[in-house]
Protein backbone atom coordinates (compact mmCIF):
# COMPACT_ATOMS: atom_id res chain seq x y z
CA UNK A 1 0.00 0.00 0.00
CA UNK A 2 1.39 3.39 -0.97
CA UNK A 3 1.81 6.04 1.67
CA UNK A 4 -0.64 8.88 2.18
CA UNK A 5 -0.31 12.62 1.88
CA UNK A 6 -0.98 14.86 4.86
CA UNK A 7 -4.44 15.71 3.52
CA UNK A 8 -5.28 12.03 2.95
CA UNK A 9 -4.17 11.11 6.48
CA UNK A 10 -6.36 13.74 8.12
CA UNK A 11 -9.36 12.77 6.02
CA UNK A 12 -8.87 9.04 6.65
CA UNK A 13 -8.70 9.54 10.41
CA UNK A 14 -11.87 11.64 10.40
CA UNK A 15 -13.66 9.02 8.32
CA UNK A 16 -12.60 6.28 10.72
CA UNK A 17 -10.71 4.47 7.96
CA UNK A 18 -7.16 3.14 7.96
CA UNK A 19 -6.55 4.71 4.56
CA UNK A 20 -8.19 6.65 1.76
CA UNK A 21 -7.33 7.31 -1.86
CA UNK A 22 -7.95 10.29 -4.11
CA UNK A 23 -11.44 9.99 -5.57
CA UNK A 24 -12.95 8.18 -2.56
CA UNK A 25 -16.21 9.66 -1.35
CA UNK A 26 -16.20 9.66 2.44
CA UNK A 27 -18.24 10.99 5.36
CA UNK A 28 -16.09 12.81 7.88
CA UNK A 29 -16.53 14.22 11.38
CA UNK A 30 -16.00 17.96 11.52
CA UNK A 31 -13.96 19.56 14.32
CA UNK A 32 -14.86 23.22 13.81
CA UNK A 33 -17.58 24.93 11.77
CA UNK A 34 -17.17 28.67 11.23
CA UNK A 35 -19.69 31.04 9.74
CA UNK A 36 -19.97 34.83 9.39
CA UNK A 37 -22.53 37.57 8.80
CA UNK A 38 -22.87 37.02 5.04
CA UNK A 39 -23.51 33.26 5.02
CA UNK A 40 -24.58 32.74 8.63
CA UNK A 41 -28.23 33.82 8.20
CA UNK A 42 -28.72 31.46 5.24
CA UNK A 43 -26.97 28.63 7.10
CA UNK A 44 -29.14 29.14 10.16
CA UNK A 45 -32.22 29.16 7.90
CA UNK A 46 -31.20 25.82 6.34
CA UNK A 47 -30.57 24.38 9.81
CA UNK A 48 -33.99 25.42 11.14
CA UNK A 49 -35.85 24.32 8.02
CA UNK A 50 -34.34 20.86 8.09
CA UNK A 51 -33.85 20.03 11.75
CA UNK A 52 -36.78 21.99 13.18
CA UNK A 53 -37.26 25.22 15.10
CA UNK A 54 -36.21 23.67 18.40
CA UNK A 55 -33.23 21.71 17.12
CA UNK A 56 -29.87 22.12 18.82
CA UNK A 57 -26.52 22.30 17.02
CA UNK A 58 -24.45 19.11 17.16
CA UNK A 59 -21.79 20.52 19.46
CA UNK A 60 -21.90 24.05 20.82
CA UNK A 61 -18.20 24.09 21.46
CA UNK A 62 -17.39 23.39 17.81
CA UNK A 63 -19.35 26.25 16.25
CA UNK A 64 -17.58 29.58 15.81
CA UNK A 65 -19.45 32.67 14.62
CA UNK A 66 -17.45 35.69 13.50
CA UNK A 67 -19.21 38.71 11.98
CA UNK A 68 -16.64 40.48 9.79
CA UNK A 69 -17.86 41.31 6.31
CA UNK A 70 -20.36 44.18 6.50
CA UNK A 71 -19.75 45.75 9.84
CA UNK A 72 -19.05 49.46 9.69
CA UNK A 73 -21.94 50.35 7.39
CA UNK A 74 -25.27 52.10 7.83
CA UNK A 75 -26.89 49.47 5.58
CA UNK A 76 -29.95 48.25 7.52
CA UNK A 77 -30.05 44.81 5.87
CA UNK A 78 -26.39 44.22 6.69
CA UNK A 79 -27.00 45.15 10.32
CA UNK A 80 -30.07 42.93 10.40
CA UNK A 81 -27.90 39.96 9.41
CA UNK A 82 -25.72 40.47 12.48
CA UNK A 83 -28.95 40.45 14.55
CA UNK A 84 -29.85 37.07 13.00
CA UNK A 85 -26.49 35.74 14.26
CA UNK A 86 -27.10 37.24 17.71
CA UNK A 87 -30.46 35.61 18.19
CA UNK A 88 -29.13 32.24 17.00
CA UNK A 89 -26.21 32.47 19.42
CA UNK A 90 -28.60 33.30 22.27
CA UNK A 91 -31.02 30.51 21.32
CA UNK A 92 -28.22 27.93 21.11
CA UNK A 93 -26.07 29.38 23.92
CA UNK A 94 -23.00 29.34 21.69
CA UNK A 95 -19.79 30.21 23.53
CA UNK A 96 -17.67 31.23 20.52
CA UNK A 97 -19.27 34.40 19.18
CA UNK A 98 -17.31 37.54 18.47
CA UNK A 99 -20.04 40.15 18.43
CA UNK A 100 -19.84 43.57 16.86
CA UNK A 101 -19.70 46.46 19.29
CA UNK A 102 -18.39 44.36 22.19
CA UNK A 103 -14.80 43.93 23.32
CA UNK A 104 -14.94 40.42 21.90
CA UNK A 105 -15.30 41.84 18.37
CA UNK A 106 -12.50 40.49 16.20
CA UNK A 107 -12.81 41.27 12.50
CA UNK A 108 -11.76 39.05 9.60
CA UNK A 109 -12.71 35.46 10.42
CA UNK A 110 -9.66 33.70 8.95
CA UNK A 111 -7.31 35.70 11.16
CA UNK A 112 -9.63 35.65 14.16
CA UNK A 113 -9.79 31.83 14.13
CA UNK A 114 -6.10 31.25 14.92
CA UNK A 115 -5.85 34.28 17.20
CA UNK A 116 -8.64 32.86 19.34
CA UNK A 117 -7.23 29.35 19.33
CA UNK A 118 -9.71 27.64 17.01
CA UNK A 119 -7.08 26.22 14.65
CA UNK A 120 -5.23 23.02 15.57
CA UNK A 121 -3.06 20.61 13.56
CA UNK A 122 -4.71 17.45 12.28
CA UNK A 123 -8.28 18.75 12.55
CA UNK A 124 -10.99 19.40 9.97
CA UNK A 125 -12.21 22.98 9.89
CA UNK A 126 -15.03 23.98 7.56
CA UNK A 127 -16.25 27.51 7.00
CA UNK A 128 -18.84 29.26 4.87
CA UNK A 129 -16.15 31.27 3.19
CA UNK A 130 -13.88 30.26 0.35
CA UNK A 131 -10.75 31.50 2.15
CA UNK A 132 -11.31 29.06 5.01
CA UNK A 133 -8.38 27.25 3.38
CA UNK A 134 -6.17 29.80 5.21
CA UNK A 135 -6.17 27.53 8.28
CA UNK A 136 -4.29 24.86 6.34
CA UNK A 137 -1.25 26.81 7.51
CA UNK A 138 -1.73 25.04 10.86
CA UNK A 139 -1.40 21.55 9.42
CA UNK A 140 -5.13 20.90 9.29
CA UNK A 141 -7.66 20.24 6.54
CA UNK A 142 -9.62 23.45 6.03
CA UNK A 143 -11.98 24.30 3.20
CA UNK A 144 -14.92 26.51 2.26
CA UNK A 145 -18.50 25.26 1.94
CA UNK A 146 -21.93 26.74 1.20
CA UNK A 147 -24.96 27.38 3.41
CA UNK A 148 -26.65 24.05 2.74
CA UNK A 149 -23.53 22.07 3.60
CA UNK A 150 -22.96 24.23 6.67
CA UNK A 151 -26.59 23.78 7.78
CA UNK A 152 -26.10 20.03 7.45
CA UNK A 153 -22.91 20.16 9.53
CA UNK A 154 -24.64 22.29 12.20
CA UNK A 155 -27.18 19.53 12.69
CA UNK A 156 -25.02 16.44 12.26
CA UNK A 157 -21.35 17.35 12.70
CA UNK A 158 -20.68 15.48 9.46
CA UNK A 159 -20.19 16.14 5.79
CA UNK A 160 -19.29 14.12 2.72
CA UNK A 161 -16.10 14.89 0.90
CA UNK A 162 -14.32 13.54 -2.09
CA UNK A 163 -10.67 12.87 -1.25
CA UNK A 164 -8.61 15.21 -3.45
CA UNK A 165 -5.33 14.31 -5.14
CA UNK A 166 -2.49 16.39 -3.71
CA UNK A 167 -0.24 18.73 -5.69
CA UNK A 168 3.07 19.54 -4.00
CA UNK A 169 4.80 22.91 -4.24
CA UNK A 170 8.34 22.89 -2.93
CA UNK A 171 10.03 26.21 -2.19
CA UNK A 172 13.80 26.06 -1.86
CA UNK A 173 16.03 28.68 -0.28
CA UNK A 174 15.44 31.62 1.98
CA UNK A 175 13.16 34.42 0.82
CA UNK A 176 15.09 37.61 -0.07
CA UNK A 177 14.00 40.73 1.87
CA UNK A 178 12.11 42.20 -1.11
CA UNK A 179 9.85 39.17 -1.52
CA UNK A 180 6.91 37.97 0.55
CA UNK A 181 4.61 34.95 0.60
CA UNK A 182 2.24 36.90 -1.66
CA UNK A 183 4.89 36.90 -4.41
CA UNK A 184 5.31 33.13 -4.06
CA UNK A 185 1.64 32.32 -4.29
CA UNK A 186 1.00 34.77 -7.13
CA UNK A 187 3.89 33.11 -8.98
CA UNK A 188 2.33 29.68 -8.42
CA UNK A 189 -1.14 30.82 -9.53
CA UNK A 190 0.42 32.47 -12.59
CA UNK A 191 2.03 29.13 -13.44
CA UNK A 192 -0.90 26.80 -12.90
CA UNK A 193 -3.80 29.20 -13.62
CA UNK A 194 -6.82 30.07 -11.52
CA UNK A 195 -8.27 26.62 -12.26
CA UNK A 196 -4.94 24.78 -12.03
CA UNK A 197 -5.69 23.07 -8.72
CA UNK A 198 -9.45 22.57 -9.10
CA UNK A 199 -10.63 19.69 -6.87
CA UNK A 200 -7.07 19.19 -5.61
CA UNK A 201 -5.13 19.76 -2.41
CA UNK A 202 -2.09 22.05 -2.53
CA UNK A 203 0.64 21.10 -0.09
CA UNK A 204 3.43 23.62 0.42
CA UNK A 205 6.77 22.22 1.43
CA UNK A 206 10.50 22.92 1.47
CA UNK A 207 12.86 25.01 3.61
CA UNK A 208 11.53 28.14 1.86
CA UNK A 209 8.18 27.51 3.56
CA UNK A 210 9.44 26.52 6.98
CA UNK A 211 11.61 29.62 7.31
CA UNK A 212 8.43 31.69 6.90
CA UNK A 213 6.49 32.88 9.94
CA UNK A 214 2.99 31.61 10.64
CA UNK A 215 1.29 34.65 9.10
CA UNK A 216 3.18 34.29 5.83
CA UNK A 217 2.22 30.60 5.71
CA UNK A 218 -1.39 31.70 6.14
CA UNK A 219 -1.02 33.94 3.10
CA UNK A 220 0.18 30.96 1.04
CA UNK A 221 -2.72 28.75 2.08
CA UNK A 222 -5.24 31.61 1.86
CA UNK A 223 -4.79 31.83 -1.89
CA UNK A 224 -4.99 28.11 -2.65
CA UNK A 225 -8.62 28.82 -3.57
CA UNK A 226 -7.46 31.36 -6.18
CA UNK A 227 -5.97 28.40 -8.03
CA UNK A 228 -9.22 26.49 -7.52
CA UNK A 229 -7.68 24.35 -4.76
CA UNK A 230 -9.86 22.48 -2.31
CA UNK A 231 -7.40 23.14 0.48
CA UNK A 232 -3.91 24.46 1.01
CA UNK A 233 -1.84 22.76 3.67
CA UNK A 234 1.53 23.01 5.41
CA UNK A 235 2.59 20.40 7.93
CA UNK A 236 2.92 21.71 11.46
CA UNK A 237 6.45 22.33 12.74
CA UNK A 238 7.67 23.75 16.04
CA UNK A 239 6.60 27.28 15.10
CA UNK A 240 3.07 26.03 14.44
CA UNK A 241 2.83 24.03 17.63
CA UNK A 242 4.21 26.91 19.72
CA UNK A 243 1.72 29.31 18.17
CA UNK A 244 -1.23 26.97 18.63
CA UNK A 245 -0.34 26.23 22.24
CA UNK A 246 0.00 29.92 23.04
CA UNK A 247 -3.50 30.59 21.68
CA UNK A 248 -5.60 27.53 22.38
CA UNK A 249 -7.42 27.91 25.69
CA UNK A 250 -9.16 24.54 25.34
CA UNK A 251 -5.97 22.52 25.71
CA UNK A 252 -7.53 19.90 23.42
CA UNK A 253 -4.97 17.35 22.26
CA UNK A 254 -4.11 17.50 18.57
CA UNK A 255 -2.33 15.26 16.10
CA UNK A 256 0.70 16.47 14.17
CA UNK A 257 1.03 14.57 10.91
CA UNK A 258 3.02 14.78 7.73
CA UNK A 259 2.94 13.24 4.28
CA UNK A 260 4.54 9.80 4.15
CA UNK A 261 7.88 9.58 2.32
CA UNK A 262 6.20 7.35 -0.28
CA UNK A 263 2.99 9.42 -0.52
CA UNK A 264 1.69 9.92 -4.02
CA UNK A 265 1.50 13.47 -5.31
CA UNK A 266 -0.40 14.11 -8.51
CA UNK A 267 2.29 16.60 -9.55
CA UNK A 268 5.16 18.50 -8.05
CA UNK A 269 6.58 21.96 -8.71
CA UNK A 270 9.89 23.18 -7.36
CA UNK A 271 10.76 26.86 -6.95
CA UNK A 272 14.08 28.42 -6.07
CA UNK A 273 12.77 31.39 -4.12
CA UNK A 274 16.07 33.24 -4.29
CA UNK A 275 15.55 33.62 -8.06
CA UNK A 276 12.00 35.07 -7.96
CA UNK A 277 11.12 38.70 -8.60
CA UNK A 278 8.22 40.70 -7.12
CA UNK A 279 4.96 39.62 -8.80
CA UNK A 280 1.71 41.42 -9.60
CA UNK A 281 -1.59 39.93 -10.77
CA UNK A 282 -3.08 42.30 -13.33
CA UNK A 283 -6.84 42.85 -13.73
CA UNK A 284 -9.13 40.86 -13.80
CA UNK A 285 -7.83 37.54 -12.54
CA UNK A 286 -5.37 36.37 -9.87
CA UNK A 287 -3.59 34.27 -12.52
CA UNK A 288 -2.93 37.24 -14.81
CA UNK A 289 0.67 37.37 -13.67
CA UNK A 290 3.27 39.98 -14.49
CA UNK A 291 6.52 40.88 -12.82
CA UNK A 292 6.64 44.28 -11.19
CA UNK A 293 9.51 45.35 -13.44
CA UNK A 294 7.33 44.75 -16.52
CA UNK A 295 4.65 47.13 -15.25
CA UNK A 296 7.02 49.64 -13.72
CA UNK A 297 5.73 53.18 -14.05
CA UNK A 298 2.06 52.33 -14.76
CA UNK A 299 -0.03 54.95 -12.96
CA UNK A 300 -2.41 53.93 -10.18
CA UNK A 301 -5.10 55.93 -8.37
CA UNK A 302 -5.17 54.14 -5.06
CA UNK A 303 -3.38 51.70 -2.78
CA UNK A 304 -5.06 49.31 -0.35
CA UNK A 305 -3.37 47.35 2.44
CA UNK A 306 -5.69 45.00 4.27
CA UNK A 307 -7.80 41.78 4.18
CA UNK A 308 -7.19 38.26 5.48
CA UNK A 309 -4.30 37.83 3.09
CA UNK A 310 -2.67 41.25 3.49
CA UNK A 311 -3.83 42.78 6.77
CA UNK A 312 -1.75 40.93 9.35
CA UNK A 313 1.15 42.25 11.45
CA UNK A 314 3.76 40.83 9.08
CA UNK A 315 2.07 42.68 6.21
CA UNK A 316 1.97 45.99 8.09
CA UNK A 317 5.54 45.69 9.34
CA UNK A 318 6.63 45.23 5.75
CA UNK A 319 4.62 48.19 4.51
CA UNK A 320 5.82 50.40 7.36
CA UNK A 321 9.45 49.65 6.53
CA UNK A 322 8.91 51.50 3.27
CA UNK A 323 6.42 54.15 4.34
CA UNK A 324 8.30 55.38 7.41
CA UNK A 325 9.35 59.00 6.95
CA UNK A 326 7.78 59.27 3.48
CA UNK A 327 4.49 60.55 2.08
CA UNK A 328 2.13 58.62 -0.15
CA UNK A 329 1.32 60.06 -3.58
CA UNK A 330 -2.10 58.40 -3.98
CA UNK A 331 -5.01 57.69 -1.62
CA UNK A 332 -3.84 54.84 0.57
CA UNK A 333 -6.16 52.77 2.76
CA UNK A 334 -4.88 50.69 5.65
CA UNK A 335 -7.29 48.14 7.16
CA UNK A 336 -6.15 45.84 9.98
CA UNK A 337 -7.70 42.38 9.71
CA UNK A 338 -8.65 42.11 13.37
CA UNK A 339 -8.99 44.21 16.51
CA UNK A 340 -5.89 42.50 17.89
CA UNK A 341 -3.90 43.63 14.85
CA UNK A 342 -5.38 47.14 15.21
CA UNK A 343 -4.26 47.27 18.86
CA UNK A 344 -0.79 46.11 17.95
CA UNK A 345 -0.51 48.80 15.27
CA UNK A 346 -1.07 51.35 18.02
CA UNK A 347 1.50 49.86 20.39
CA UNK A 348 4.28 48.30 18.33
CA UNK A 349 7.03 50.75 17.43
CA UNK A 350 9.22 50.85 14.35
CA UNK A 351 12.90 50.83 15.43
CA UNK A 352 11.95 52.26 18.83
CA UNK A 353 10.40 55.34 17.15
CA UNK A 354 6.80 55.96 16.11
CA UNK A 355 4.12 53.26 16.29
CA UNK A 356 3.10 51.51 13.09
CA UNK A 357 -0.15 53.45 13.11
CA UNK A 358 1.75 56.73 13.47
CA UNK A 359 3.95 55.73 10.53
CA UNK A 360 0.89 55.13 8.35
CA UNK A 361 -0.94 58.28 9.42
CA UNK A 362 2.08 60.53 9.01
CA UNK A 363 2.68 59.03 5.57
CA UNK A 364 -0.82 60.28 4.72
CA UNK A 365 -2.65 56.93 4.70
CA UNK A 366 -6.21 56.54 5.98
CA UNK A 367 -6.82 53.94 8.68
CA UNK A 368 -9.97 51.80 8.71
CA UNK A 369 -11.66 49.65 11.33
CA UNK A 370 -10.83 45.93 11.48
CA UNK A 371 -13.09 44.08 9.02
CA UNK A 372 -13.18 42.87 5.42
CA UNK A 373 -13.92 46.46 4.30
CA UNK A 374 -13.37 47.05 0.57
CA UNK A 375 -11.77 43.66 -0.11
CA UNK A 376 -15.15 42.53 -1.40
CA UNK A 377 -16.74 45.85 -2.28
CA UNK A 378 -19.82 45.59 -0.07
CA UNK A 379 -22.35 48.35 0.60
CA UNK A 380 -21.47 51.66 -1.10
CA UNK A 381 -20.41 53.37 2.15
CA UNK A 382 -17.73 50.73 2.81
CA UNK A 383 -14.29 52.12 3.76
CA UNK A 384 -11.98 52.17 0.73
CA UNK A 385 -14.59 50.78 -1.73
CA UNK A 386 -13.90 51.53 -5.40
CA UNK A 387 -17.10 53.39 -6.24
CA UNK A 388 -15.73 54.66 -9.56
CA UNK A 389 -13.51 52.97 -12.19
CA UNK A 390 -10.23 53.56 -10.37
CA UNK A 391 -6.93 51.71 -10.74
CA UNK A 392 -6.00 50.23 -7.40
CA UNK A 393 -2.98 48.24 -6.24
CA UNK A 394 -4.01 46.02 -3.38
CA UNK A 395 -2.75 43.38 -0.95
CA UNK A 396 -6.09 41.52 -1.23
CA UNK A 397 -6.50 38.13 -2.88
CA UNK A 398 -9.02 38.52 -5.69
CA UNK A 399 -9.38 40.91 -8.62
CA UNK A 400 -12.26 39.57 -10.68
CA UNK A 401 -14.44 42.32 -12.25
CA UNK A 402 -16.27 44.31 -9.59
CA UNK A 403 -14.65 42.53 -6.64
CA UNK A 404 -13.70 45.77 -4.86
CA UNK A 405 -16.77 47.69 -6.03
CA UNK A 406 -17.04 49.16 -9.51
CA UNK A 407 -17.23 46.71 -12.43
CA UNK A 408 -14.76 48.73 -14.48
CA UNK A 409 -12.31 49.33 -11.65
CA UNK A 410 -8.90 47.74 -12.25
CA UNK A 411 -7.31 45.92 -9.34
CA UNK A 412 -3.66 44.84 -9.27
CA UNK A 413 -2.76 42.31 -6.58
CA UNK A 414 0.68 42.49 -5.01
CA UNK A 415 2.64 42.05 -1.79
CA UNK A 416 2.44 44.68 0.97
CA UNK A 417 5.99 45.73 0.04
CA UNK A 418 5.07 46.33 -3.59
CA UNK A 419 1.83 48.09 -2.63
CA UNK A 420 3.68 50.39 -0.21
CA UNK A 421 6.38 51.18 -2.78
CA UNK A 422 3.68 51.95 -5.35
CA UNK A 423 1.79 54.17 -2.91
CA UNK A 424 4.93 56.26 -2.51
CA UNK A 425 5.36 56.89 -6.24
CA UNK A 426 1.79 56.71 -7.56
CA UNK A 427 2.93 54.14 -10.10
CA UNK A 428 3.55 50.41 -9.91
CA UNK A 429 6.96 50.24 -8.24
CA UNK A 430 9.47 47.55 -7.37
CA UNK A 431 10.09 47.56 -3.60
CA UNK A 432 13.81 47.07 -4.29
CA UNK A 433 13.94 50.77 -5.27
CA UNK A 434 13.24 51.64 -1.64
CA UNK A 435 14.99 48.80 0.12
CA UNK A 436 18.43 49.38 -1.34
Amino acid sequence: MAGMTLTEKILARHAGKPSVQPGDNIWVDVDILMTHDVCGPGTIGVFHQNFGRDAKVWDRDKVVIIPDHYIFTADAMANRNVDVLRSFVAEQKLPHFYDVGTDRYKGVCHIALPEEGHTRPGEILLGTDSHTCTAGAFGEFATGIGNTDAGFVLGTGKTWLKVPPTLRFVFKGELPPYLMAKDLILAVIGDIGCDGATYQAMEFDGDGVFCLGIEERMTLCNMAIEAGGKNGIIRADKKTVDFVKSRDKSGKPFVVEQSDPDARFAREWVYDVTKLKPVVAKPHSPDNRAYVDELKGSAIDRAYIGSCTGGKMTDFRAAARLLKGHTVKVDTFVVPATSEVARQLRTERVDGGPTLEEVFLSAGAKMGEPSCAACLGGPSDTFGRLNTPLKCISTTNRNFPGRMGHKQAEVFLASPLTVAASALTGTITDPREFLA
Partner: protein
Protein backbone atom coordinates in the same frame (compact mmCIF):
# COMPACT_ATOMS: atom_id res chain seq x y z
CA UNK B 1 -36.62 19.81 -7.22
CA UNK B 2 -36.69 16.32 -8.60
CA UNK B 3 -34.89 16.04 -11.87
CA UNK B 4 -36.92 17.27 -14.80
CA UNK B 5 -36.28 14.75 -17.59
CA UNK B 6 -36.16 17.42 -20.27
CA UNK B 7 -35.29 21.08 -19.97
CA UNK B 8 -36.07 23.27 -22.93
CA UNK B 9 -35.48 26.97 -23.30
CA UNK B 10 -33.25 29.75 -24.47
CA UNK B 11 -29.50 29.81 -23.90
CA UNK B 12 -27.58 32.65 -22.30
CA UNK B 13 -23.90 32.36 -23.15
CA UNK B 14 -20.96 33.48 -21.00
CA UNK B 15 -17.18 33.03 -21.23
CA UNK B 16 -14.48 31.65 -18.91
CA UNK B 17 -13.91 32.21 -15.17
CA UNK B 18 -17.33 33.67 -14.41
CA UNK B 19 -16.80 34.13 -10.68
CA UNK B 20 -19.45 34.36 -8.00
CA UNK B 21 -18.93 38.13 -7.61
CA UNK B 22 -20.13 38.45 -11.21
CA UNK B 23 -23.00 36.04 -10.64
CA UNK B 24 -24.19 37.96 -7.58
CA UNK B 25 -22.22 41.08 -6.61
CA UNK B 26 -21.31 41.50 -2.96
CA UNK B 27 -23.58 44.46 -2.31
CA UNK B 28 -26.66 42.23 -2.74
CA UNK B 29 -25.53 39.58 -0.26
CA UNK B 30 -27.40 41.33 2.52
CA UNK B 31 -30.61 39.59 1.42
CA UNK B 32 -31.22 36.38 3.37
CA UNK B 33 -31.87 33.43 1.03
CA UNK B 34 -33.71 31.61 3.84
CA UNK B 35 -36.56 34.16 3.60
CA UNK B 36 -38.73 33.42 0.50
CA UNK B 37 -39.45 37.07 -0.33
CA UNK B 38 -35.73 37.83 -0.22
CA UNK B 39 -34.88 34.68 -2.19
CA UNK B 40 -36.84 36.22 -5.07
CA UNK B 41 -34.71 39.36 -4.91
CA UNK B 42 -31.63 37.38 -5.87
CA UNK B 43 -33.24 36.68 -9.24
CA UNK B 44 -33.27 40.38 -9.94
CA UNK B 45 -29.54 40.78 -9.40
CA UNK B 46 -28.40 37.50 -10.97
CA UNK B 47 -25.42 38.14 -13.28
CA UNK B 48 -25.50 41.84 -12.35
CA UNK B 49 -21.71 41.80 -12.05
CA UNK B 50 -20.96 40.57 -15.57
CA UNK B 51 -19.40 43.43 -17.55
CA UNK B 52 -21.81 44.33 -20.40
CA UNK B 53 -19.52 43.30 -23.31
CA UNK B 54 -19.24 39.79 -21.83
CA UNK B 55 -22.96 39.34 -21.11
CA UNK B 56 -24.75 37.25 -23.76
CA UNK B 57 -22.06 36.04 -26.15
CA UNK B 58 -21.10 36.10 -28.96
CA UNK B 59 -22.33 39.67 -29.44
CA UNK B 60 -22.35 40.74 -25.80
CA UNK B 61 -24.38 43.60 -24.36
CA UNK B 62 -27.44 41.33 -24.10
CA UNK B 63 -29.39 41.99 -20.90
CA UNK B 64 -30.13 38.87 -18.84
CA UNK B 65 -33.61 40.14 -17.96
CA UNK B 66 -36.42 41.14 -20.31
CA UNK B 67 -37.97 44.58 -19.76
CA UNK B 68 -41.27 42.98 -18.62
CA UNK B 69 -39.92 40.95 -15.68
CA UNK B 70 -37.16 42.17 -13.44
CA UNK B 71 -37.04 39.01 -11.31
CA UNK B 72 -37.17 36.08 -13.71
CA UNK B 73 -35.01 35.96 -16.81
CA UNK B 74 -36.37 34.66 -20.15
CA UNK B 75 -33.30 32.37 -20.39
CA UNK B 76 -33.35 28.83 -18.96
CA UNK B 77 -29.90 27.37 -19.63
CA UNK B 78 -26.54 29.05 -19.19
CA UNK B 79 -23.74 27.92 -21.47
CA UNK B 80 -20.28 28.90 -20.25
CA UNK B 81 -16.58 28.15 -20.63
CA UNK B 82 -14.02 27.05 -18.07
CA UNK B 83 -14.07 27.33 -14.27
CA UNK B 84 -17.65 28.56 -13.90
CA UNK B 85 -18.47 29.82 -10.40
CA UNK B 86 -14.93 30.39 -9.16
CA UNK B 87 -14.15 32.77 -6.31
CA UNK B 88 -16.27 33.27 -3.21
CA UNK B 89 -18.08 30.32 -1.66
CA UNK B 90 -21.36 32.21 -1.47
CA UNK B 91 -24.31 29.90 -2.04
CA UNK B 92 -26.17 33.05 -3.08
CA UNK B 93 -24.67 32.38 -6.56
CA UNK B 94 -26.63 29.22 -7.49
CA UNK B 95 -29.56 30.69 -5.52
CA UNK B 96 -29.54 33.78 -7.75
CA UNK B 97 -29.49 31.71 -10.94
CA UNK B 98 -32.29 29.48 -9.62
CA UNK B 99 -34.36 32.48 -8.56
CA UNK B 100 -33.89 33.93 -12.05
CA UNK B 101 -35.31 30.75 -13.60
CA UNK B 102 -32.10 29.02 -14.70
CA UNK B 103 -32.58 25.23 -14.66
CA UNK B 104 -29.16 24.07 -15.80
CA UNK B 105 -25.69 25.34 -16.55
CA UNK B 106 -23.54 23.69 -19.18
CA UNK B 107 -19.89 24.62 -18.68
CA UNK B 108 -16.55 23.06 -19.58
CA UNK B 109 -15.94 22.60 -15.85
CA UNK B 110 -16.78 24.23 -12.54
CA UNK B 111 -15.06 25.66 -9.54
CA UNK B 112 -15.52 23.10 -6.80
CA UNK B 113 -17.59 25.04 -4.25
CA UNK B 114 -20.10 26.33 -6.82
CA UNK B 115 -20.58 22.81 -8.16
CA UNK B 116 -21.06 21.41 -4.69
CA UNK B 117 -23.48 24.16 -3.67
CA UNK B 118 -25.56 23.66 -6.83
CA UNK B 119 -25.85 19.93 -6.16
CA UNK B 120 -26.23 19.92 -2.38
CA UNK B 121 -28.71 22.78 -2.40
CA UNK B 122 -30.54 21.24 -5.39
CA UNK B 123 -30.76 24.61 -7.20
CA UNK B 124 -29.81 23.66 -10.73
CA UNK B 125 -28.04 20.95 -12.70
CA UNK B 126 -24.38 21.67 -13.34
CA UNK B 127 -23.57 19.75 -16.53
CA UNK B 128 -20.12 19.54 -18.06
CA UNK B 129 -19.83 19.53 -21.82
CA UNK B 130 -17.35 17.27 -23.57
CA UNK B 131 -16.39 20.06 -25.99
CA UNK B 132 -16.23 23.79 -25.37
CA UNK B 133 -19.68 25.12 -26.29
CA UNK B 134 -19.51 28.80 -25.39
CA UNK B 135 -17.96 29.59 -28.79
CA UNK B 136 -20.57 27.49 -30.61
CA UNK B 137 -23.90 28.21 -28.99
CA UNK B 138 -25.31 31.72 -29.38
CA UNK B 139 -27.32 33.58 -26.78
CA UNK B 140 -30.99 33.14 -27.65
CA UNK B 141 -30.57 29.73 -29.29
CA UNK B 142 -33.38 27.35 -28.33
CA UNK B 143 -31.85 24.39 -26.48
CA UNK B 144 -33.32 21.05 -25.49
CA UNK B 145 -31.52 19.26 -22.69
CA UNK B 146 -32.23 15.55 -22.25
CA UNK B 147 -31.15 15.13 -18.64
CA UNK B 148 -31.27 11.34 -18.45
CA UNK B 149 -29.47 10.80 -21.75
CA UNK B 150 -26.96 13.60 -21.12
CA UNK B 151 -27.56 15.11 -24.54
CA UNK B 152 -27.91 18.74 -25.47
CA UNK B 153 -29.68 19.66 -28.67
CA UNK B 154 -29.52 23.08 -30.26
CA UNK B 155 -32.88 23.41 -32.02
CA UNK B 156 -31.90 26.71 -33.60
CA UNK B 157 -28.59 25.56 -35.07
CA UNK B 158 -29.75 21.94 -35.53
CA UNK B 159 -26.73 20.55 -33.75
CA UNK B 160 -26.33 18.26 -30.81
CA UNK B 161 -23.59 18.09 -28.22
CA UNK B 162 -22.27 15.46 -25.86
CA UNK B 163 -22.36 16.06 -22.10
CA UNK B 164 -20.39 14.27 -19.41
CA UNK B 165 -22.37 11.91 -17.15
CA UNK B 166 -23.43 13.42 -13.83
CA UNK B 167 -21.93 10.40 -12.10
CA UNK B 168 -21.98 10.22 -8.33
CA UNK B 169 -23.90 13.47 -7.90
CA UNK B 170 -26.88 12.24 -9.95
CA UNK B 171 -28.61 10.57 -6.97
CA UNK B 172 -28.23 13.74 -4.87
CA UNK B 173 -29.70 15.85 -7.68
CA UNK B 174 -32.49 13.32 -8.19
CA UNK B 175 -33.34 13.45 -4.50
CA UNK B 176 -33.41 17.26 -4.67
CA UNK B 177 -30.32 18.06 -2.62
CA UNK B 178 -28.22 16.75 0.25
CA UNK B 179 -30.99 16.85 2.89
CA UNK B 180 -33.59 14.78 1.01
CA UNK B 181 -30.76 12.53 -0.18
CA UNK B 182 -29.49 11.91 3.36
CA UNK B 183 -33.06 11.24 4.54
CA UNK B 184 -33.67 8.75 1.75
CA UNK B 185 -30.48 6.92 2.72
CA UNK B 186 -31.41 6.82 6.40
CA UNK B 187 -28.51 9.13 7.29
CA UNK B 188 -30.97 11.61 8.77
CA UNK B 189 -34.26 11.09 10.53
CA UNK B 190 -37.10 11.58 8.03
Amino acid sequence: MTLQPVIQGKAYVLGDNIDTDQIIPAQYLTFNPAIPEEYRQFGKYALAGVPAPQGGLPKGHVPFHAPGDEFVSPYRIIVAGRNFGCGSSREHAPVALDAAGIKAVVAEFYARIFFRNSVNGGYLIPFESVKRLCDTVCTGDELRLDVAAGKLENLTARESYELRPLGEVAPILEAGGIFPYARSKGLLKA
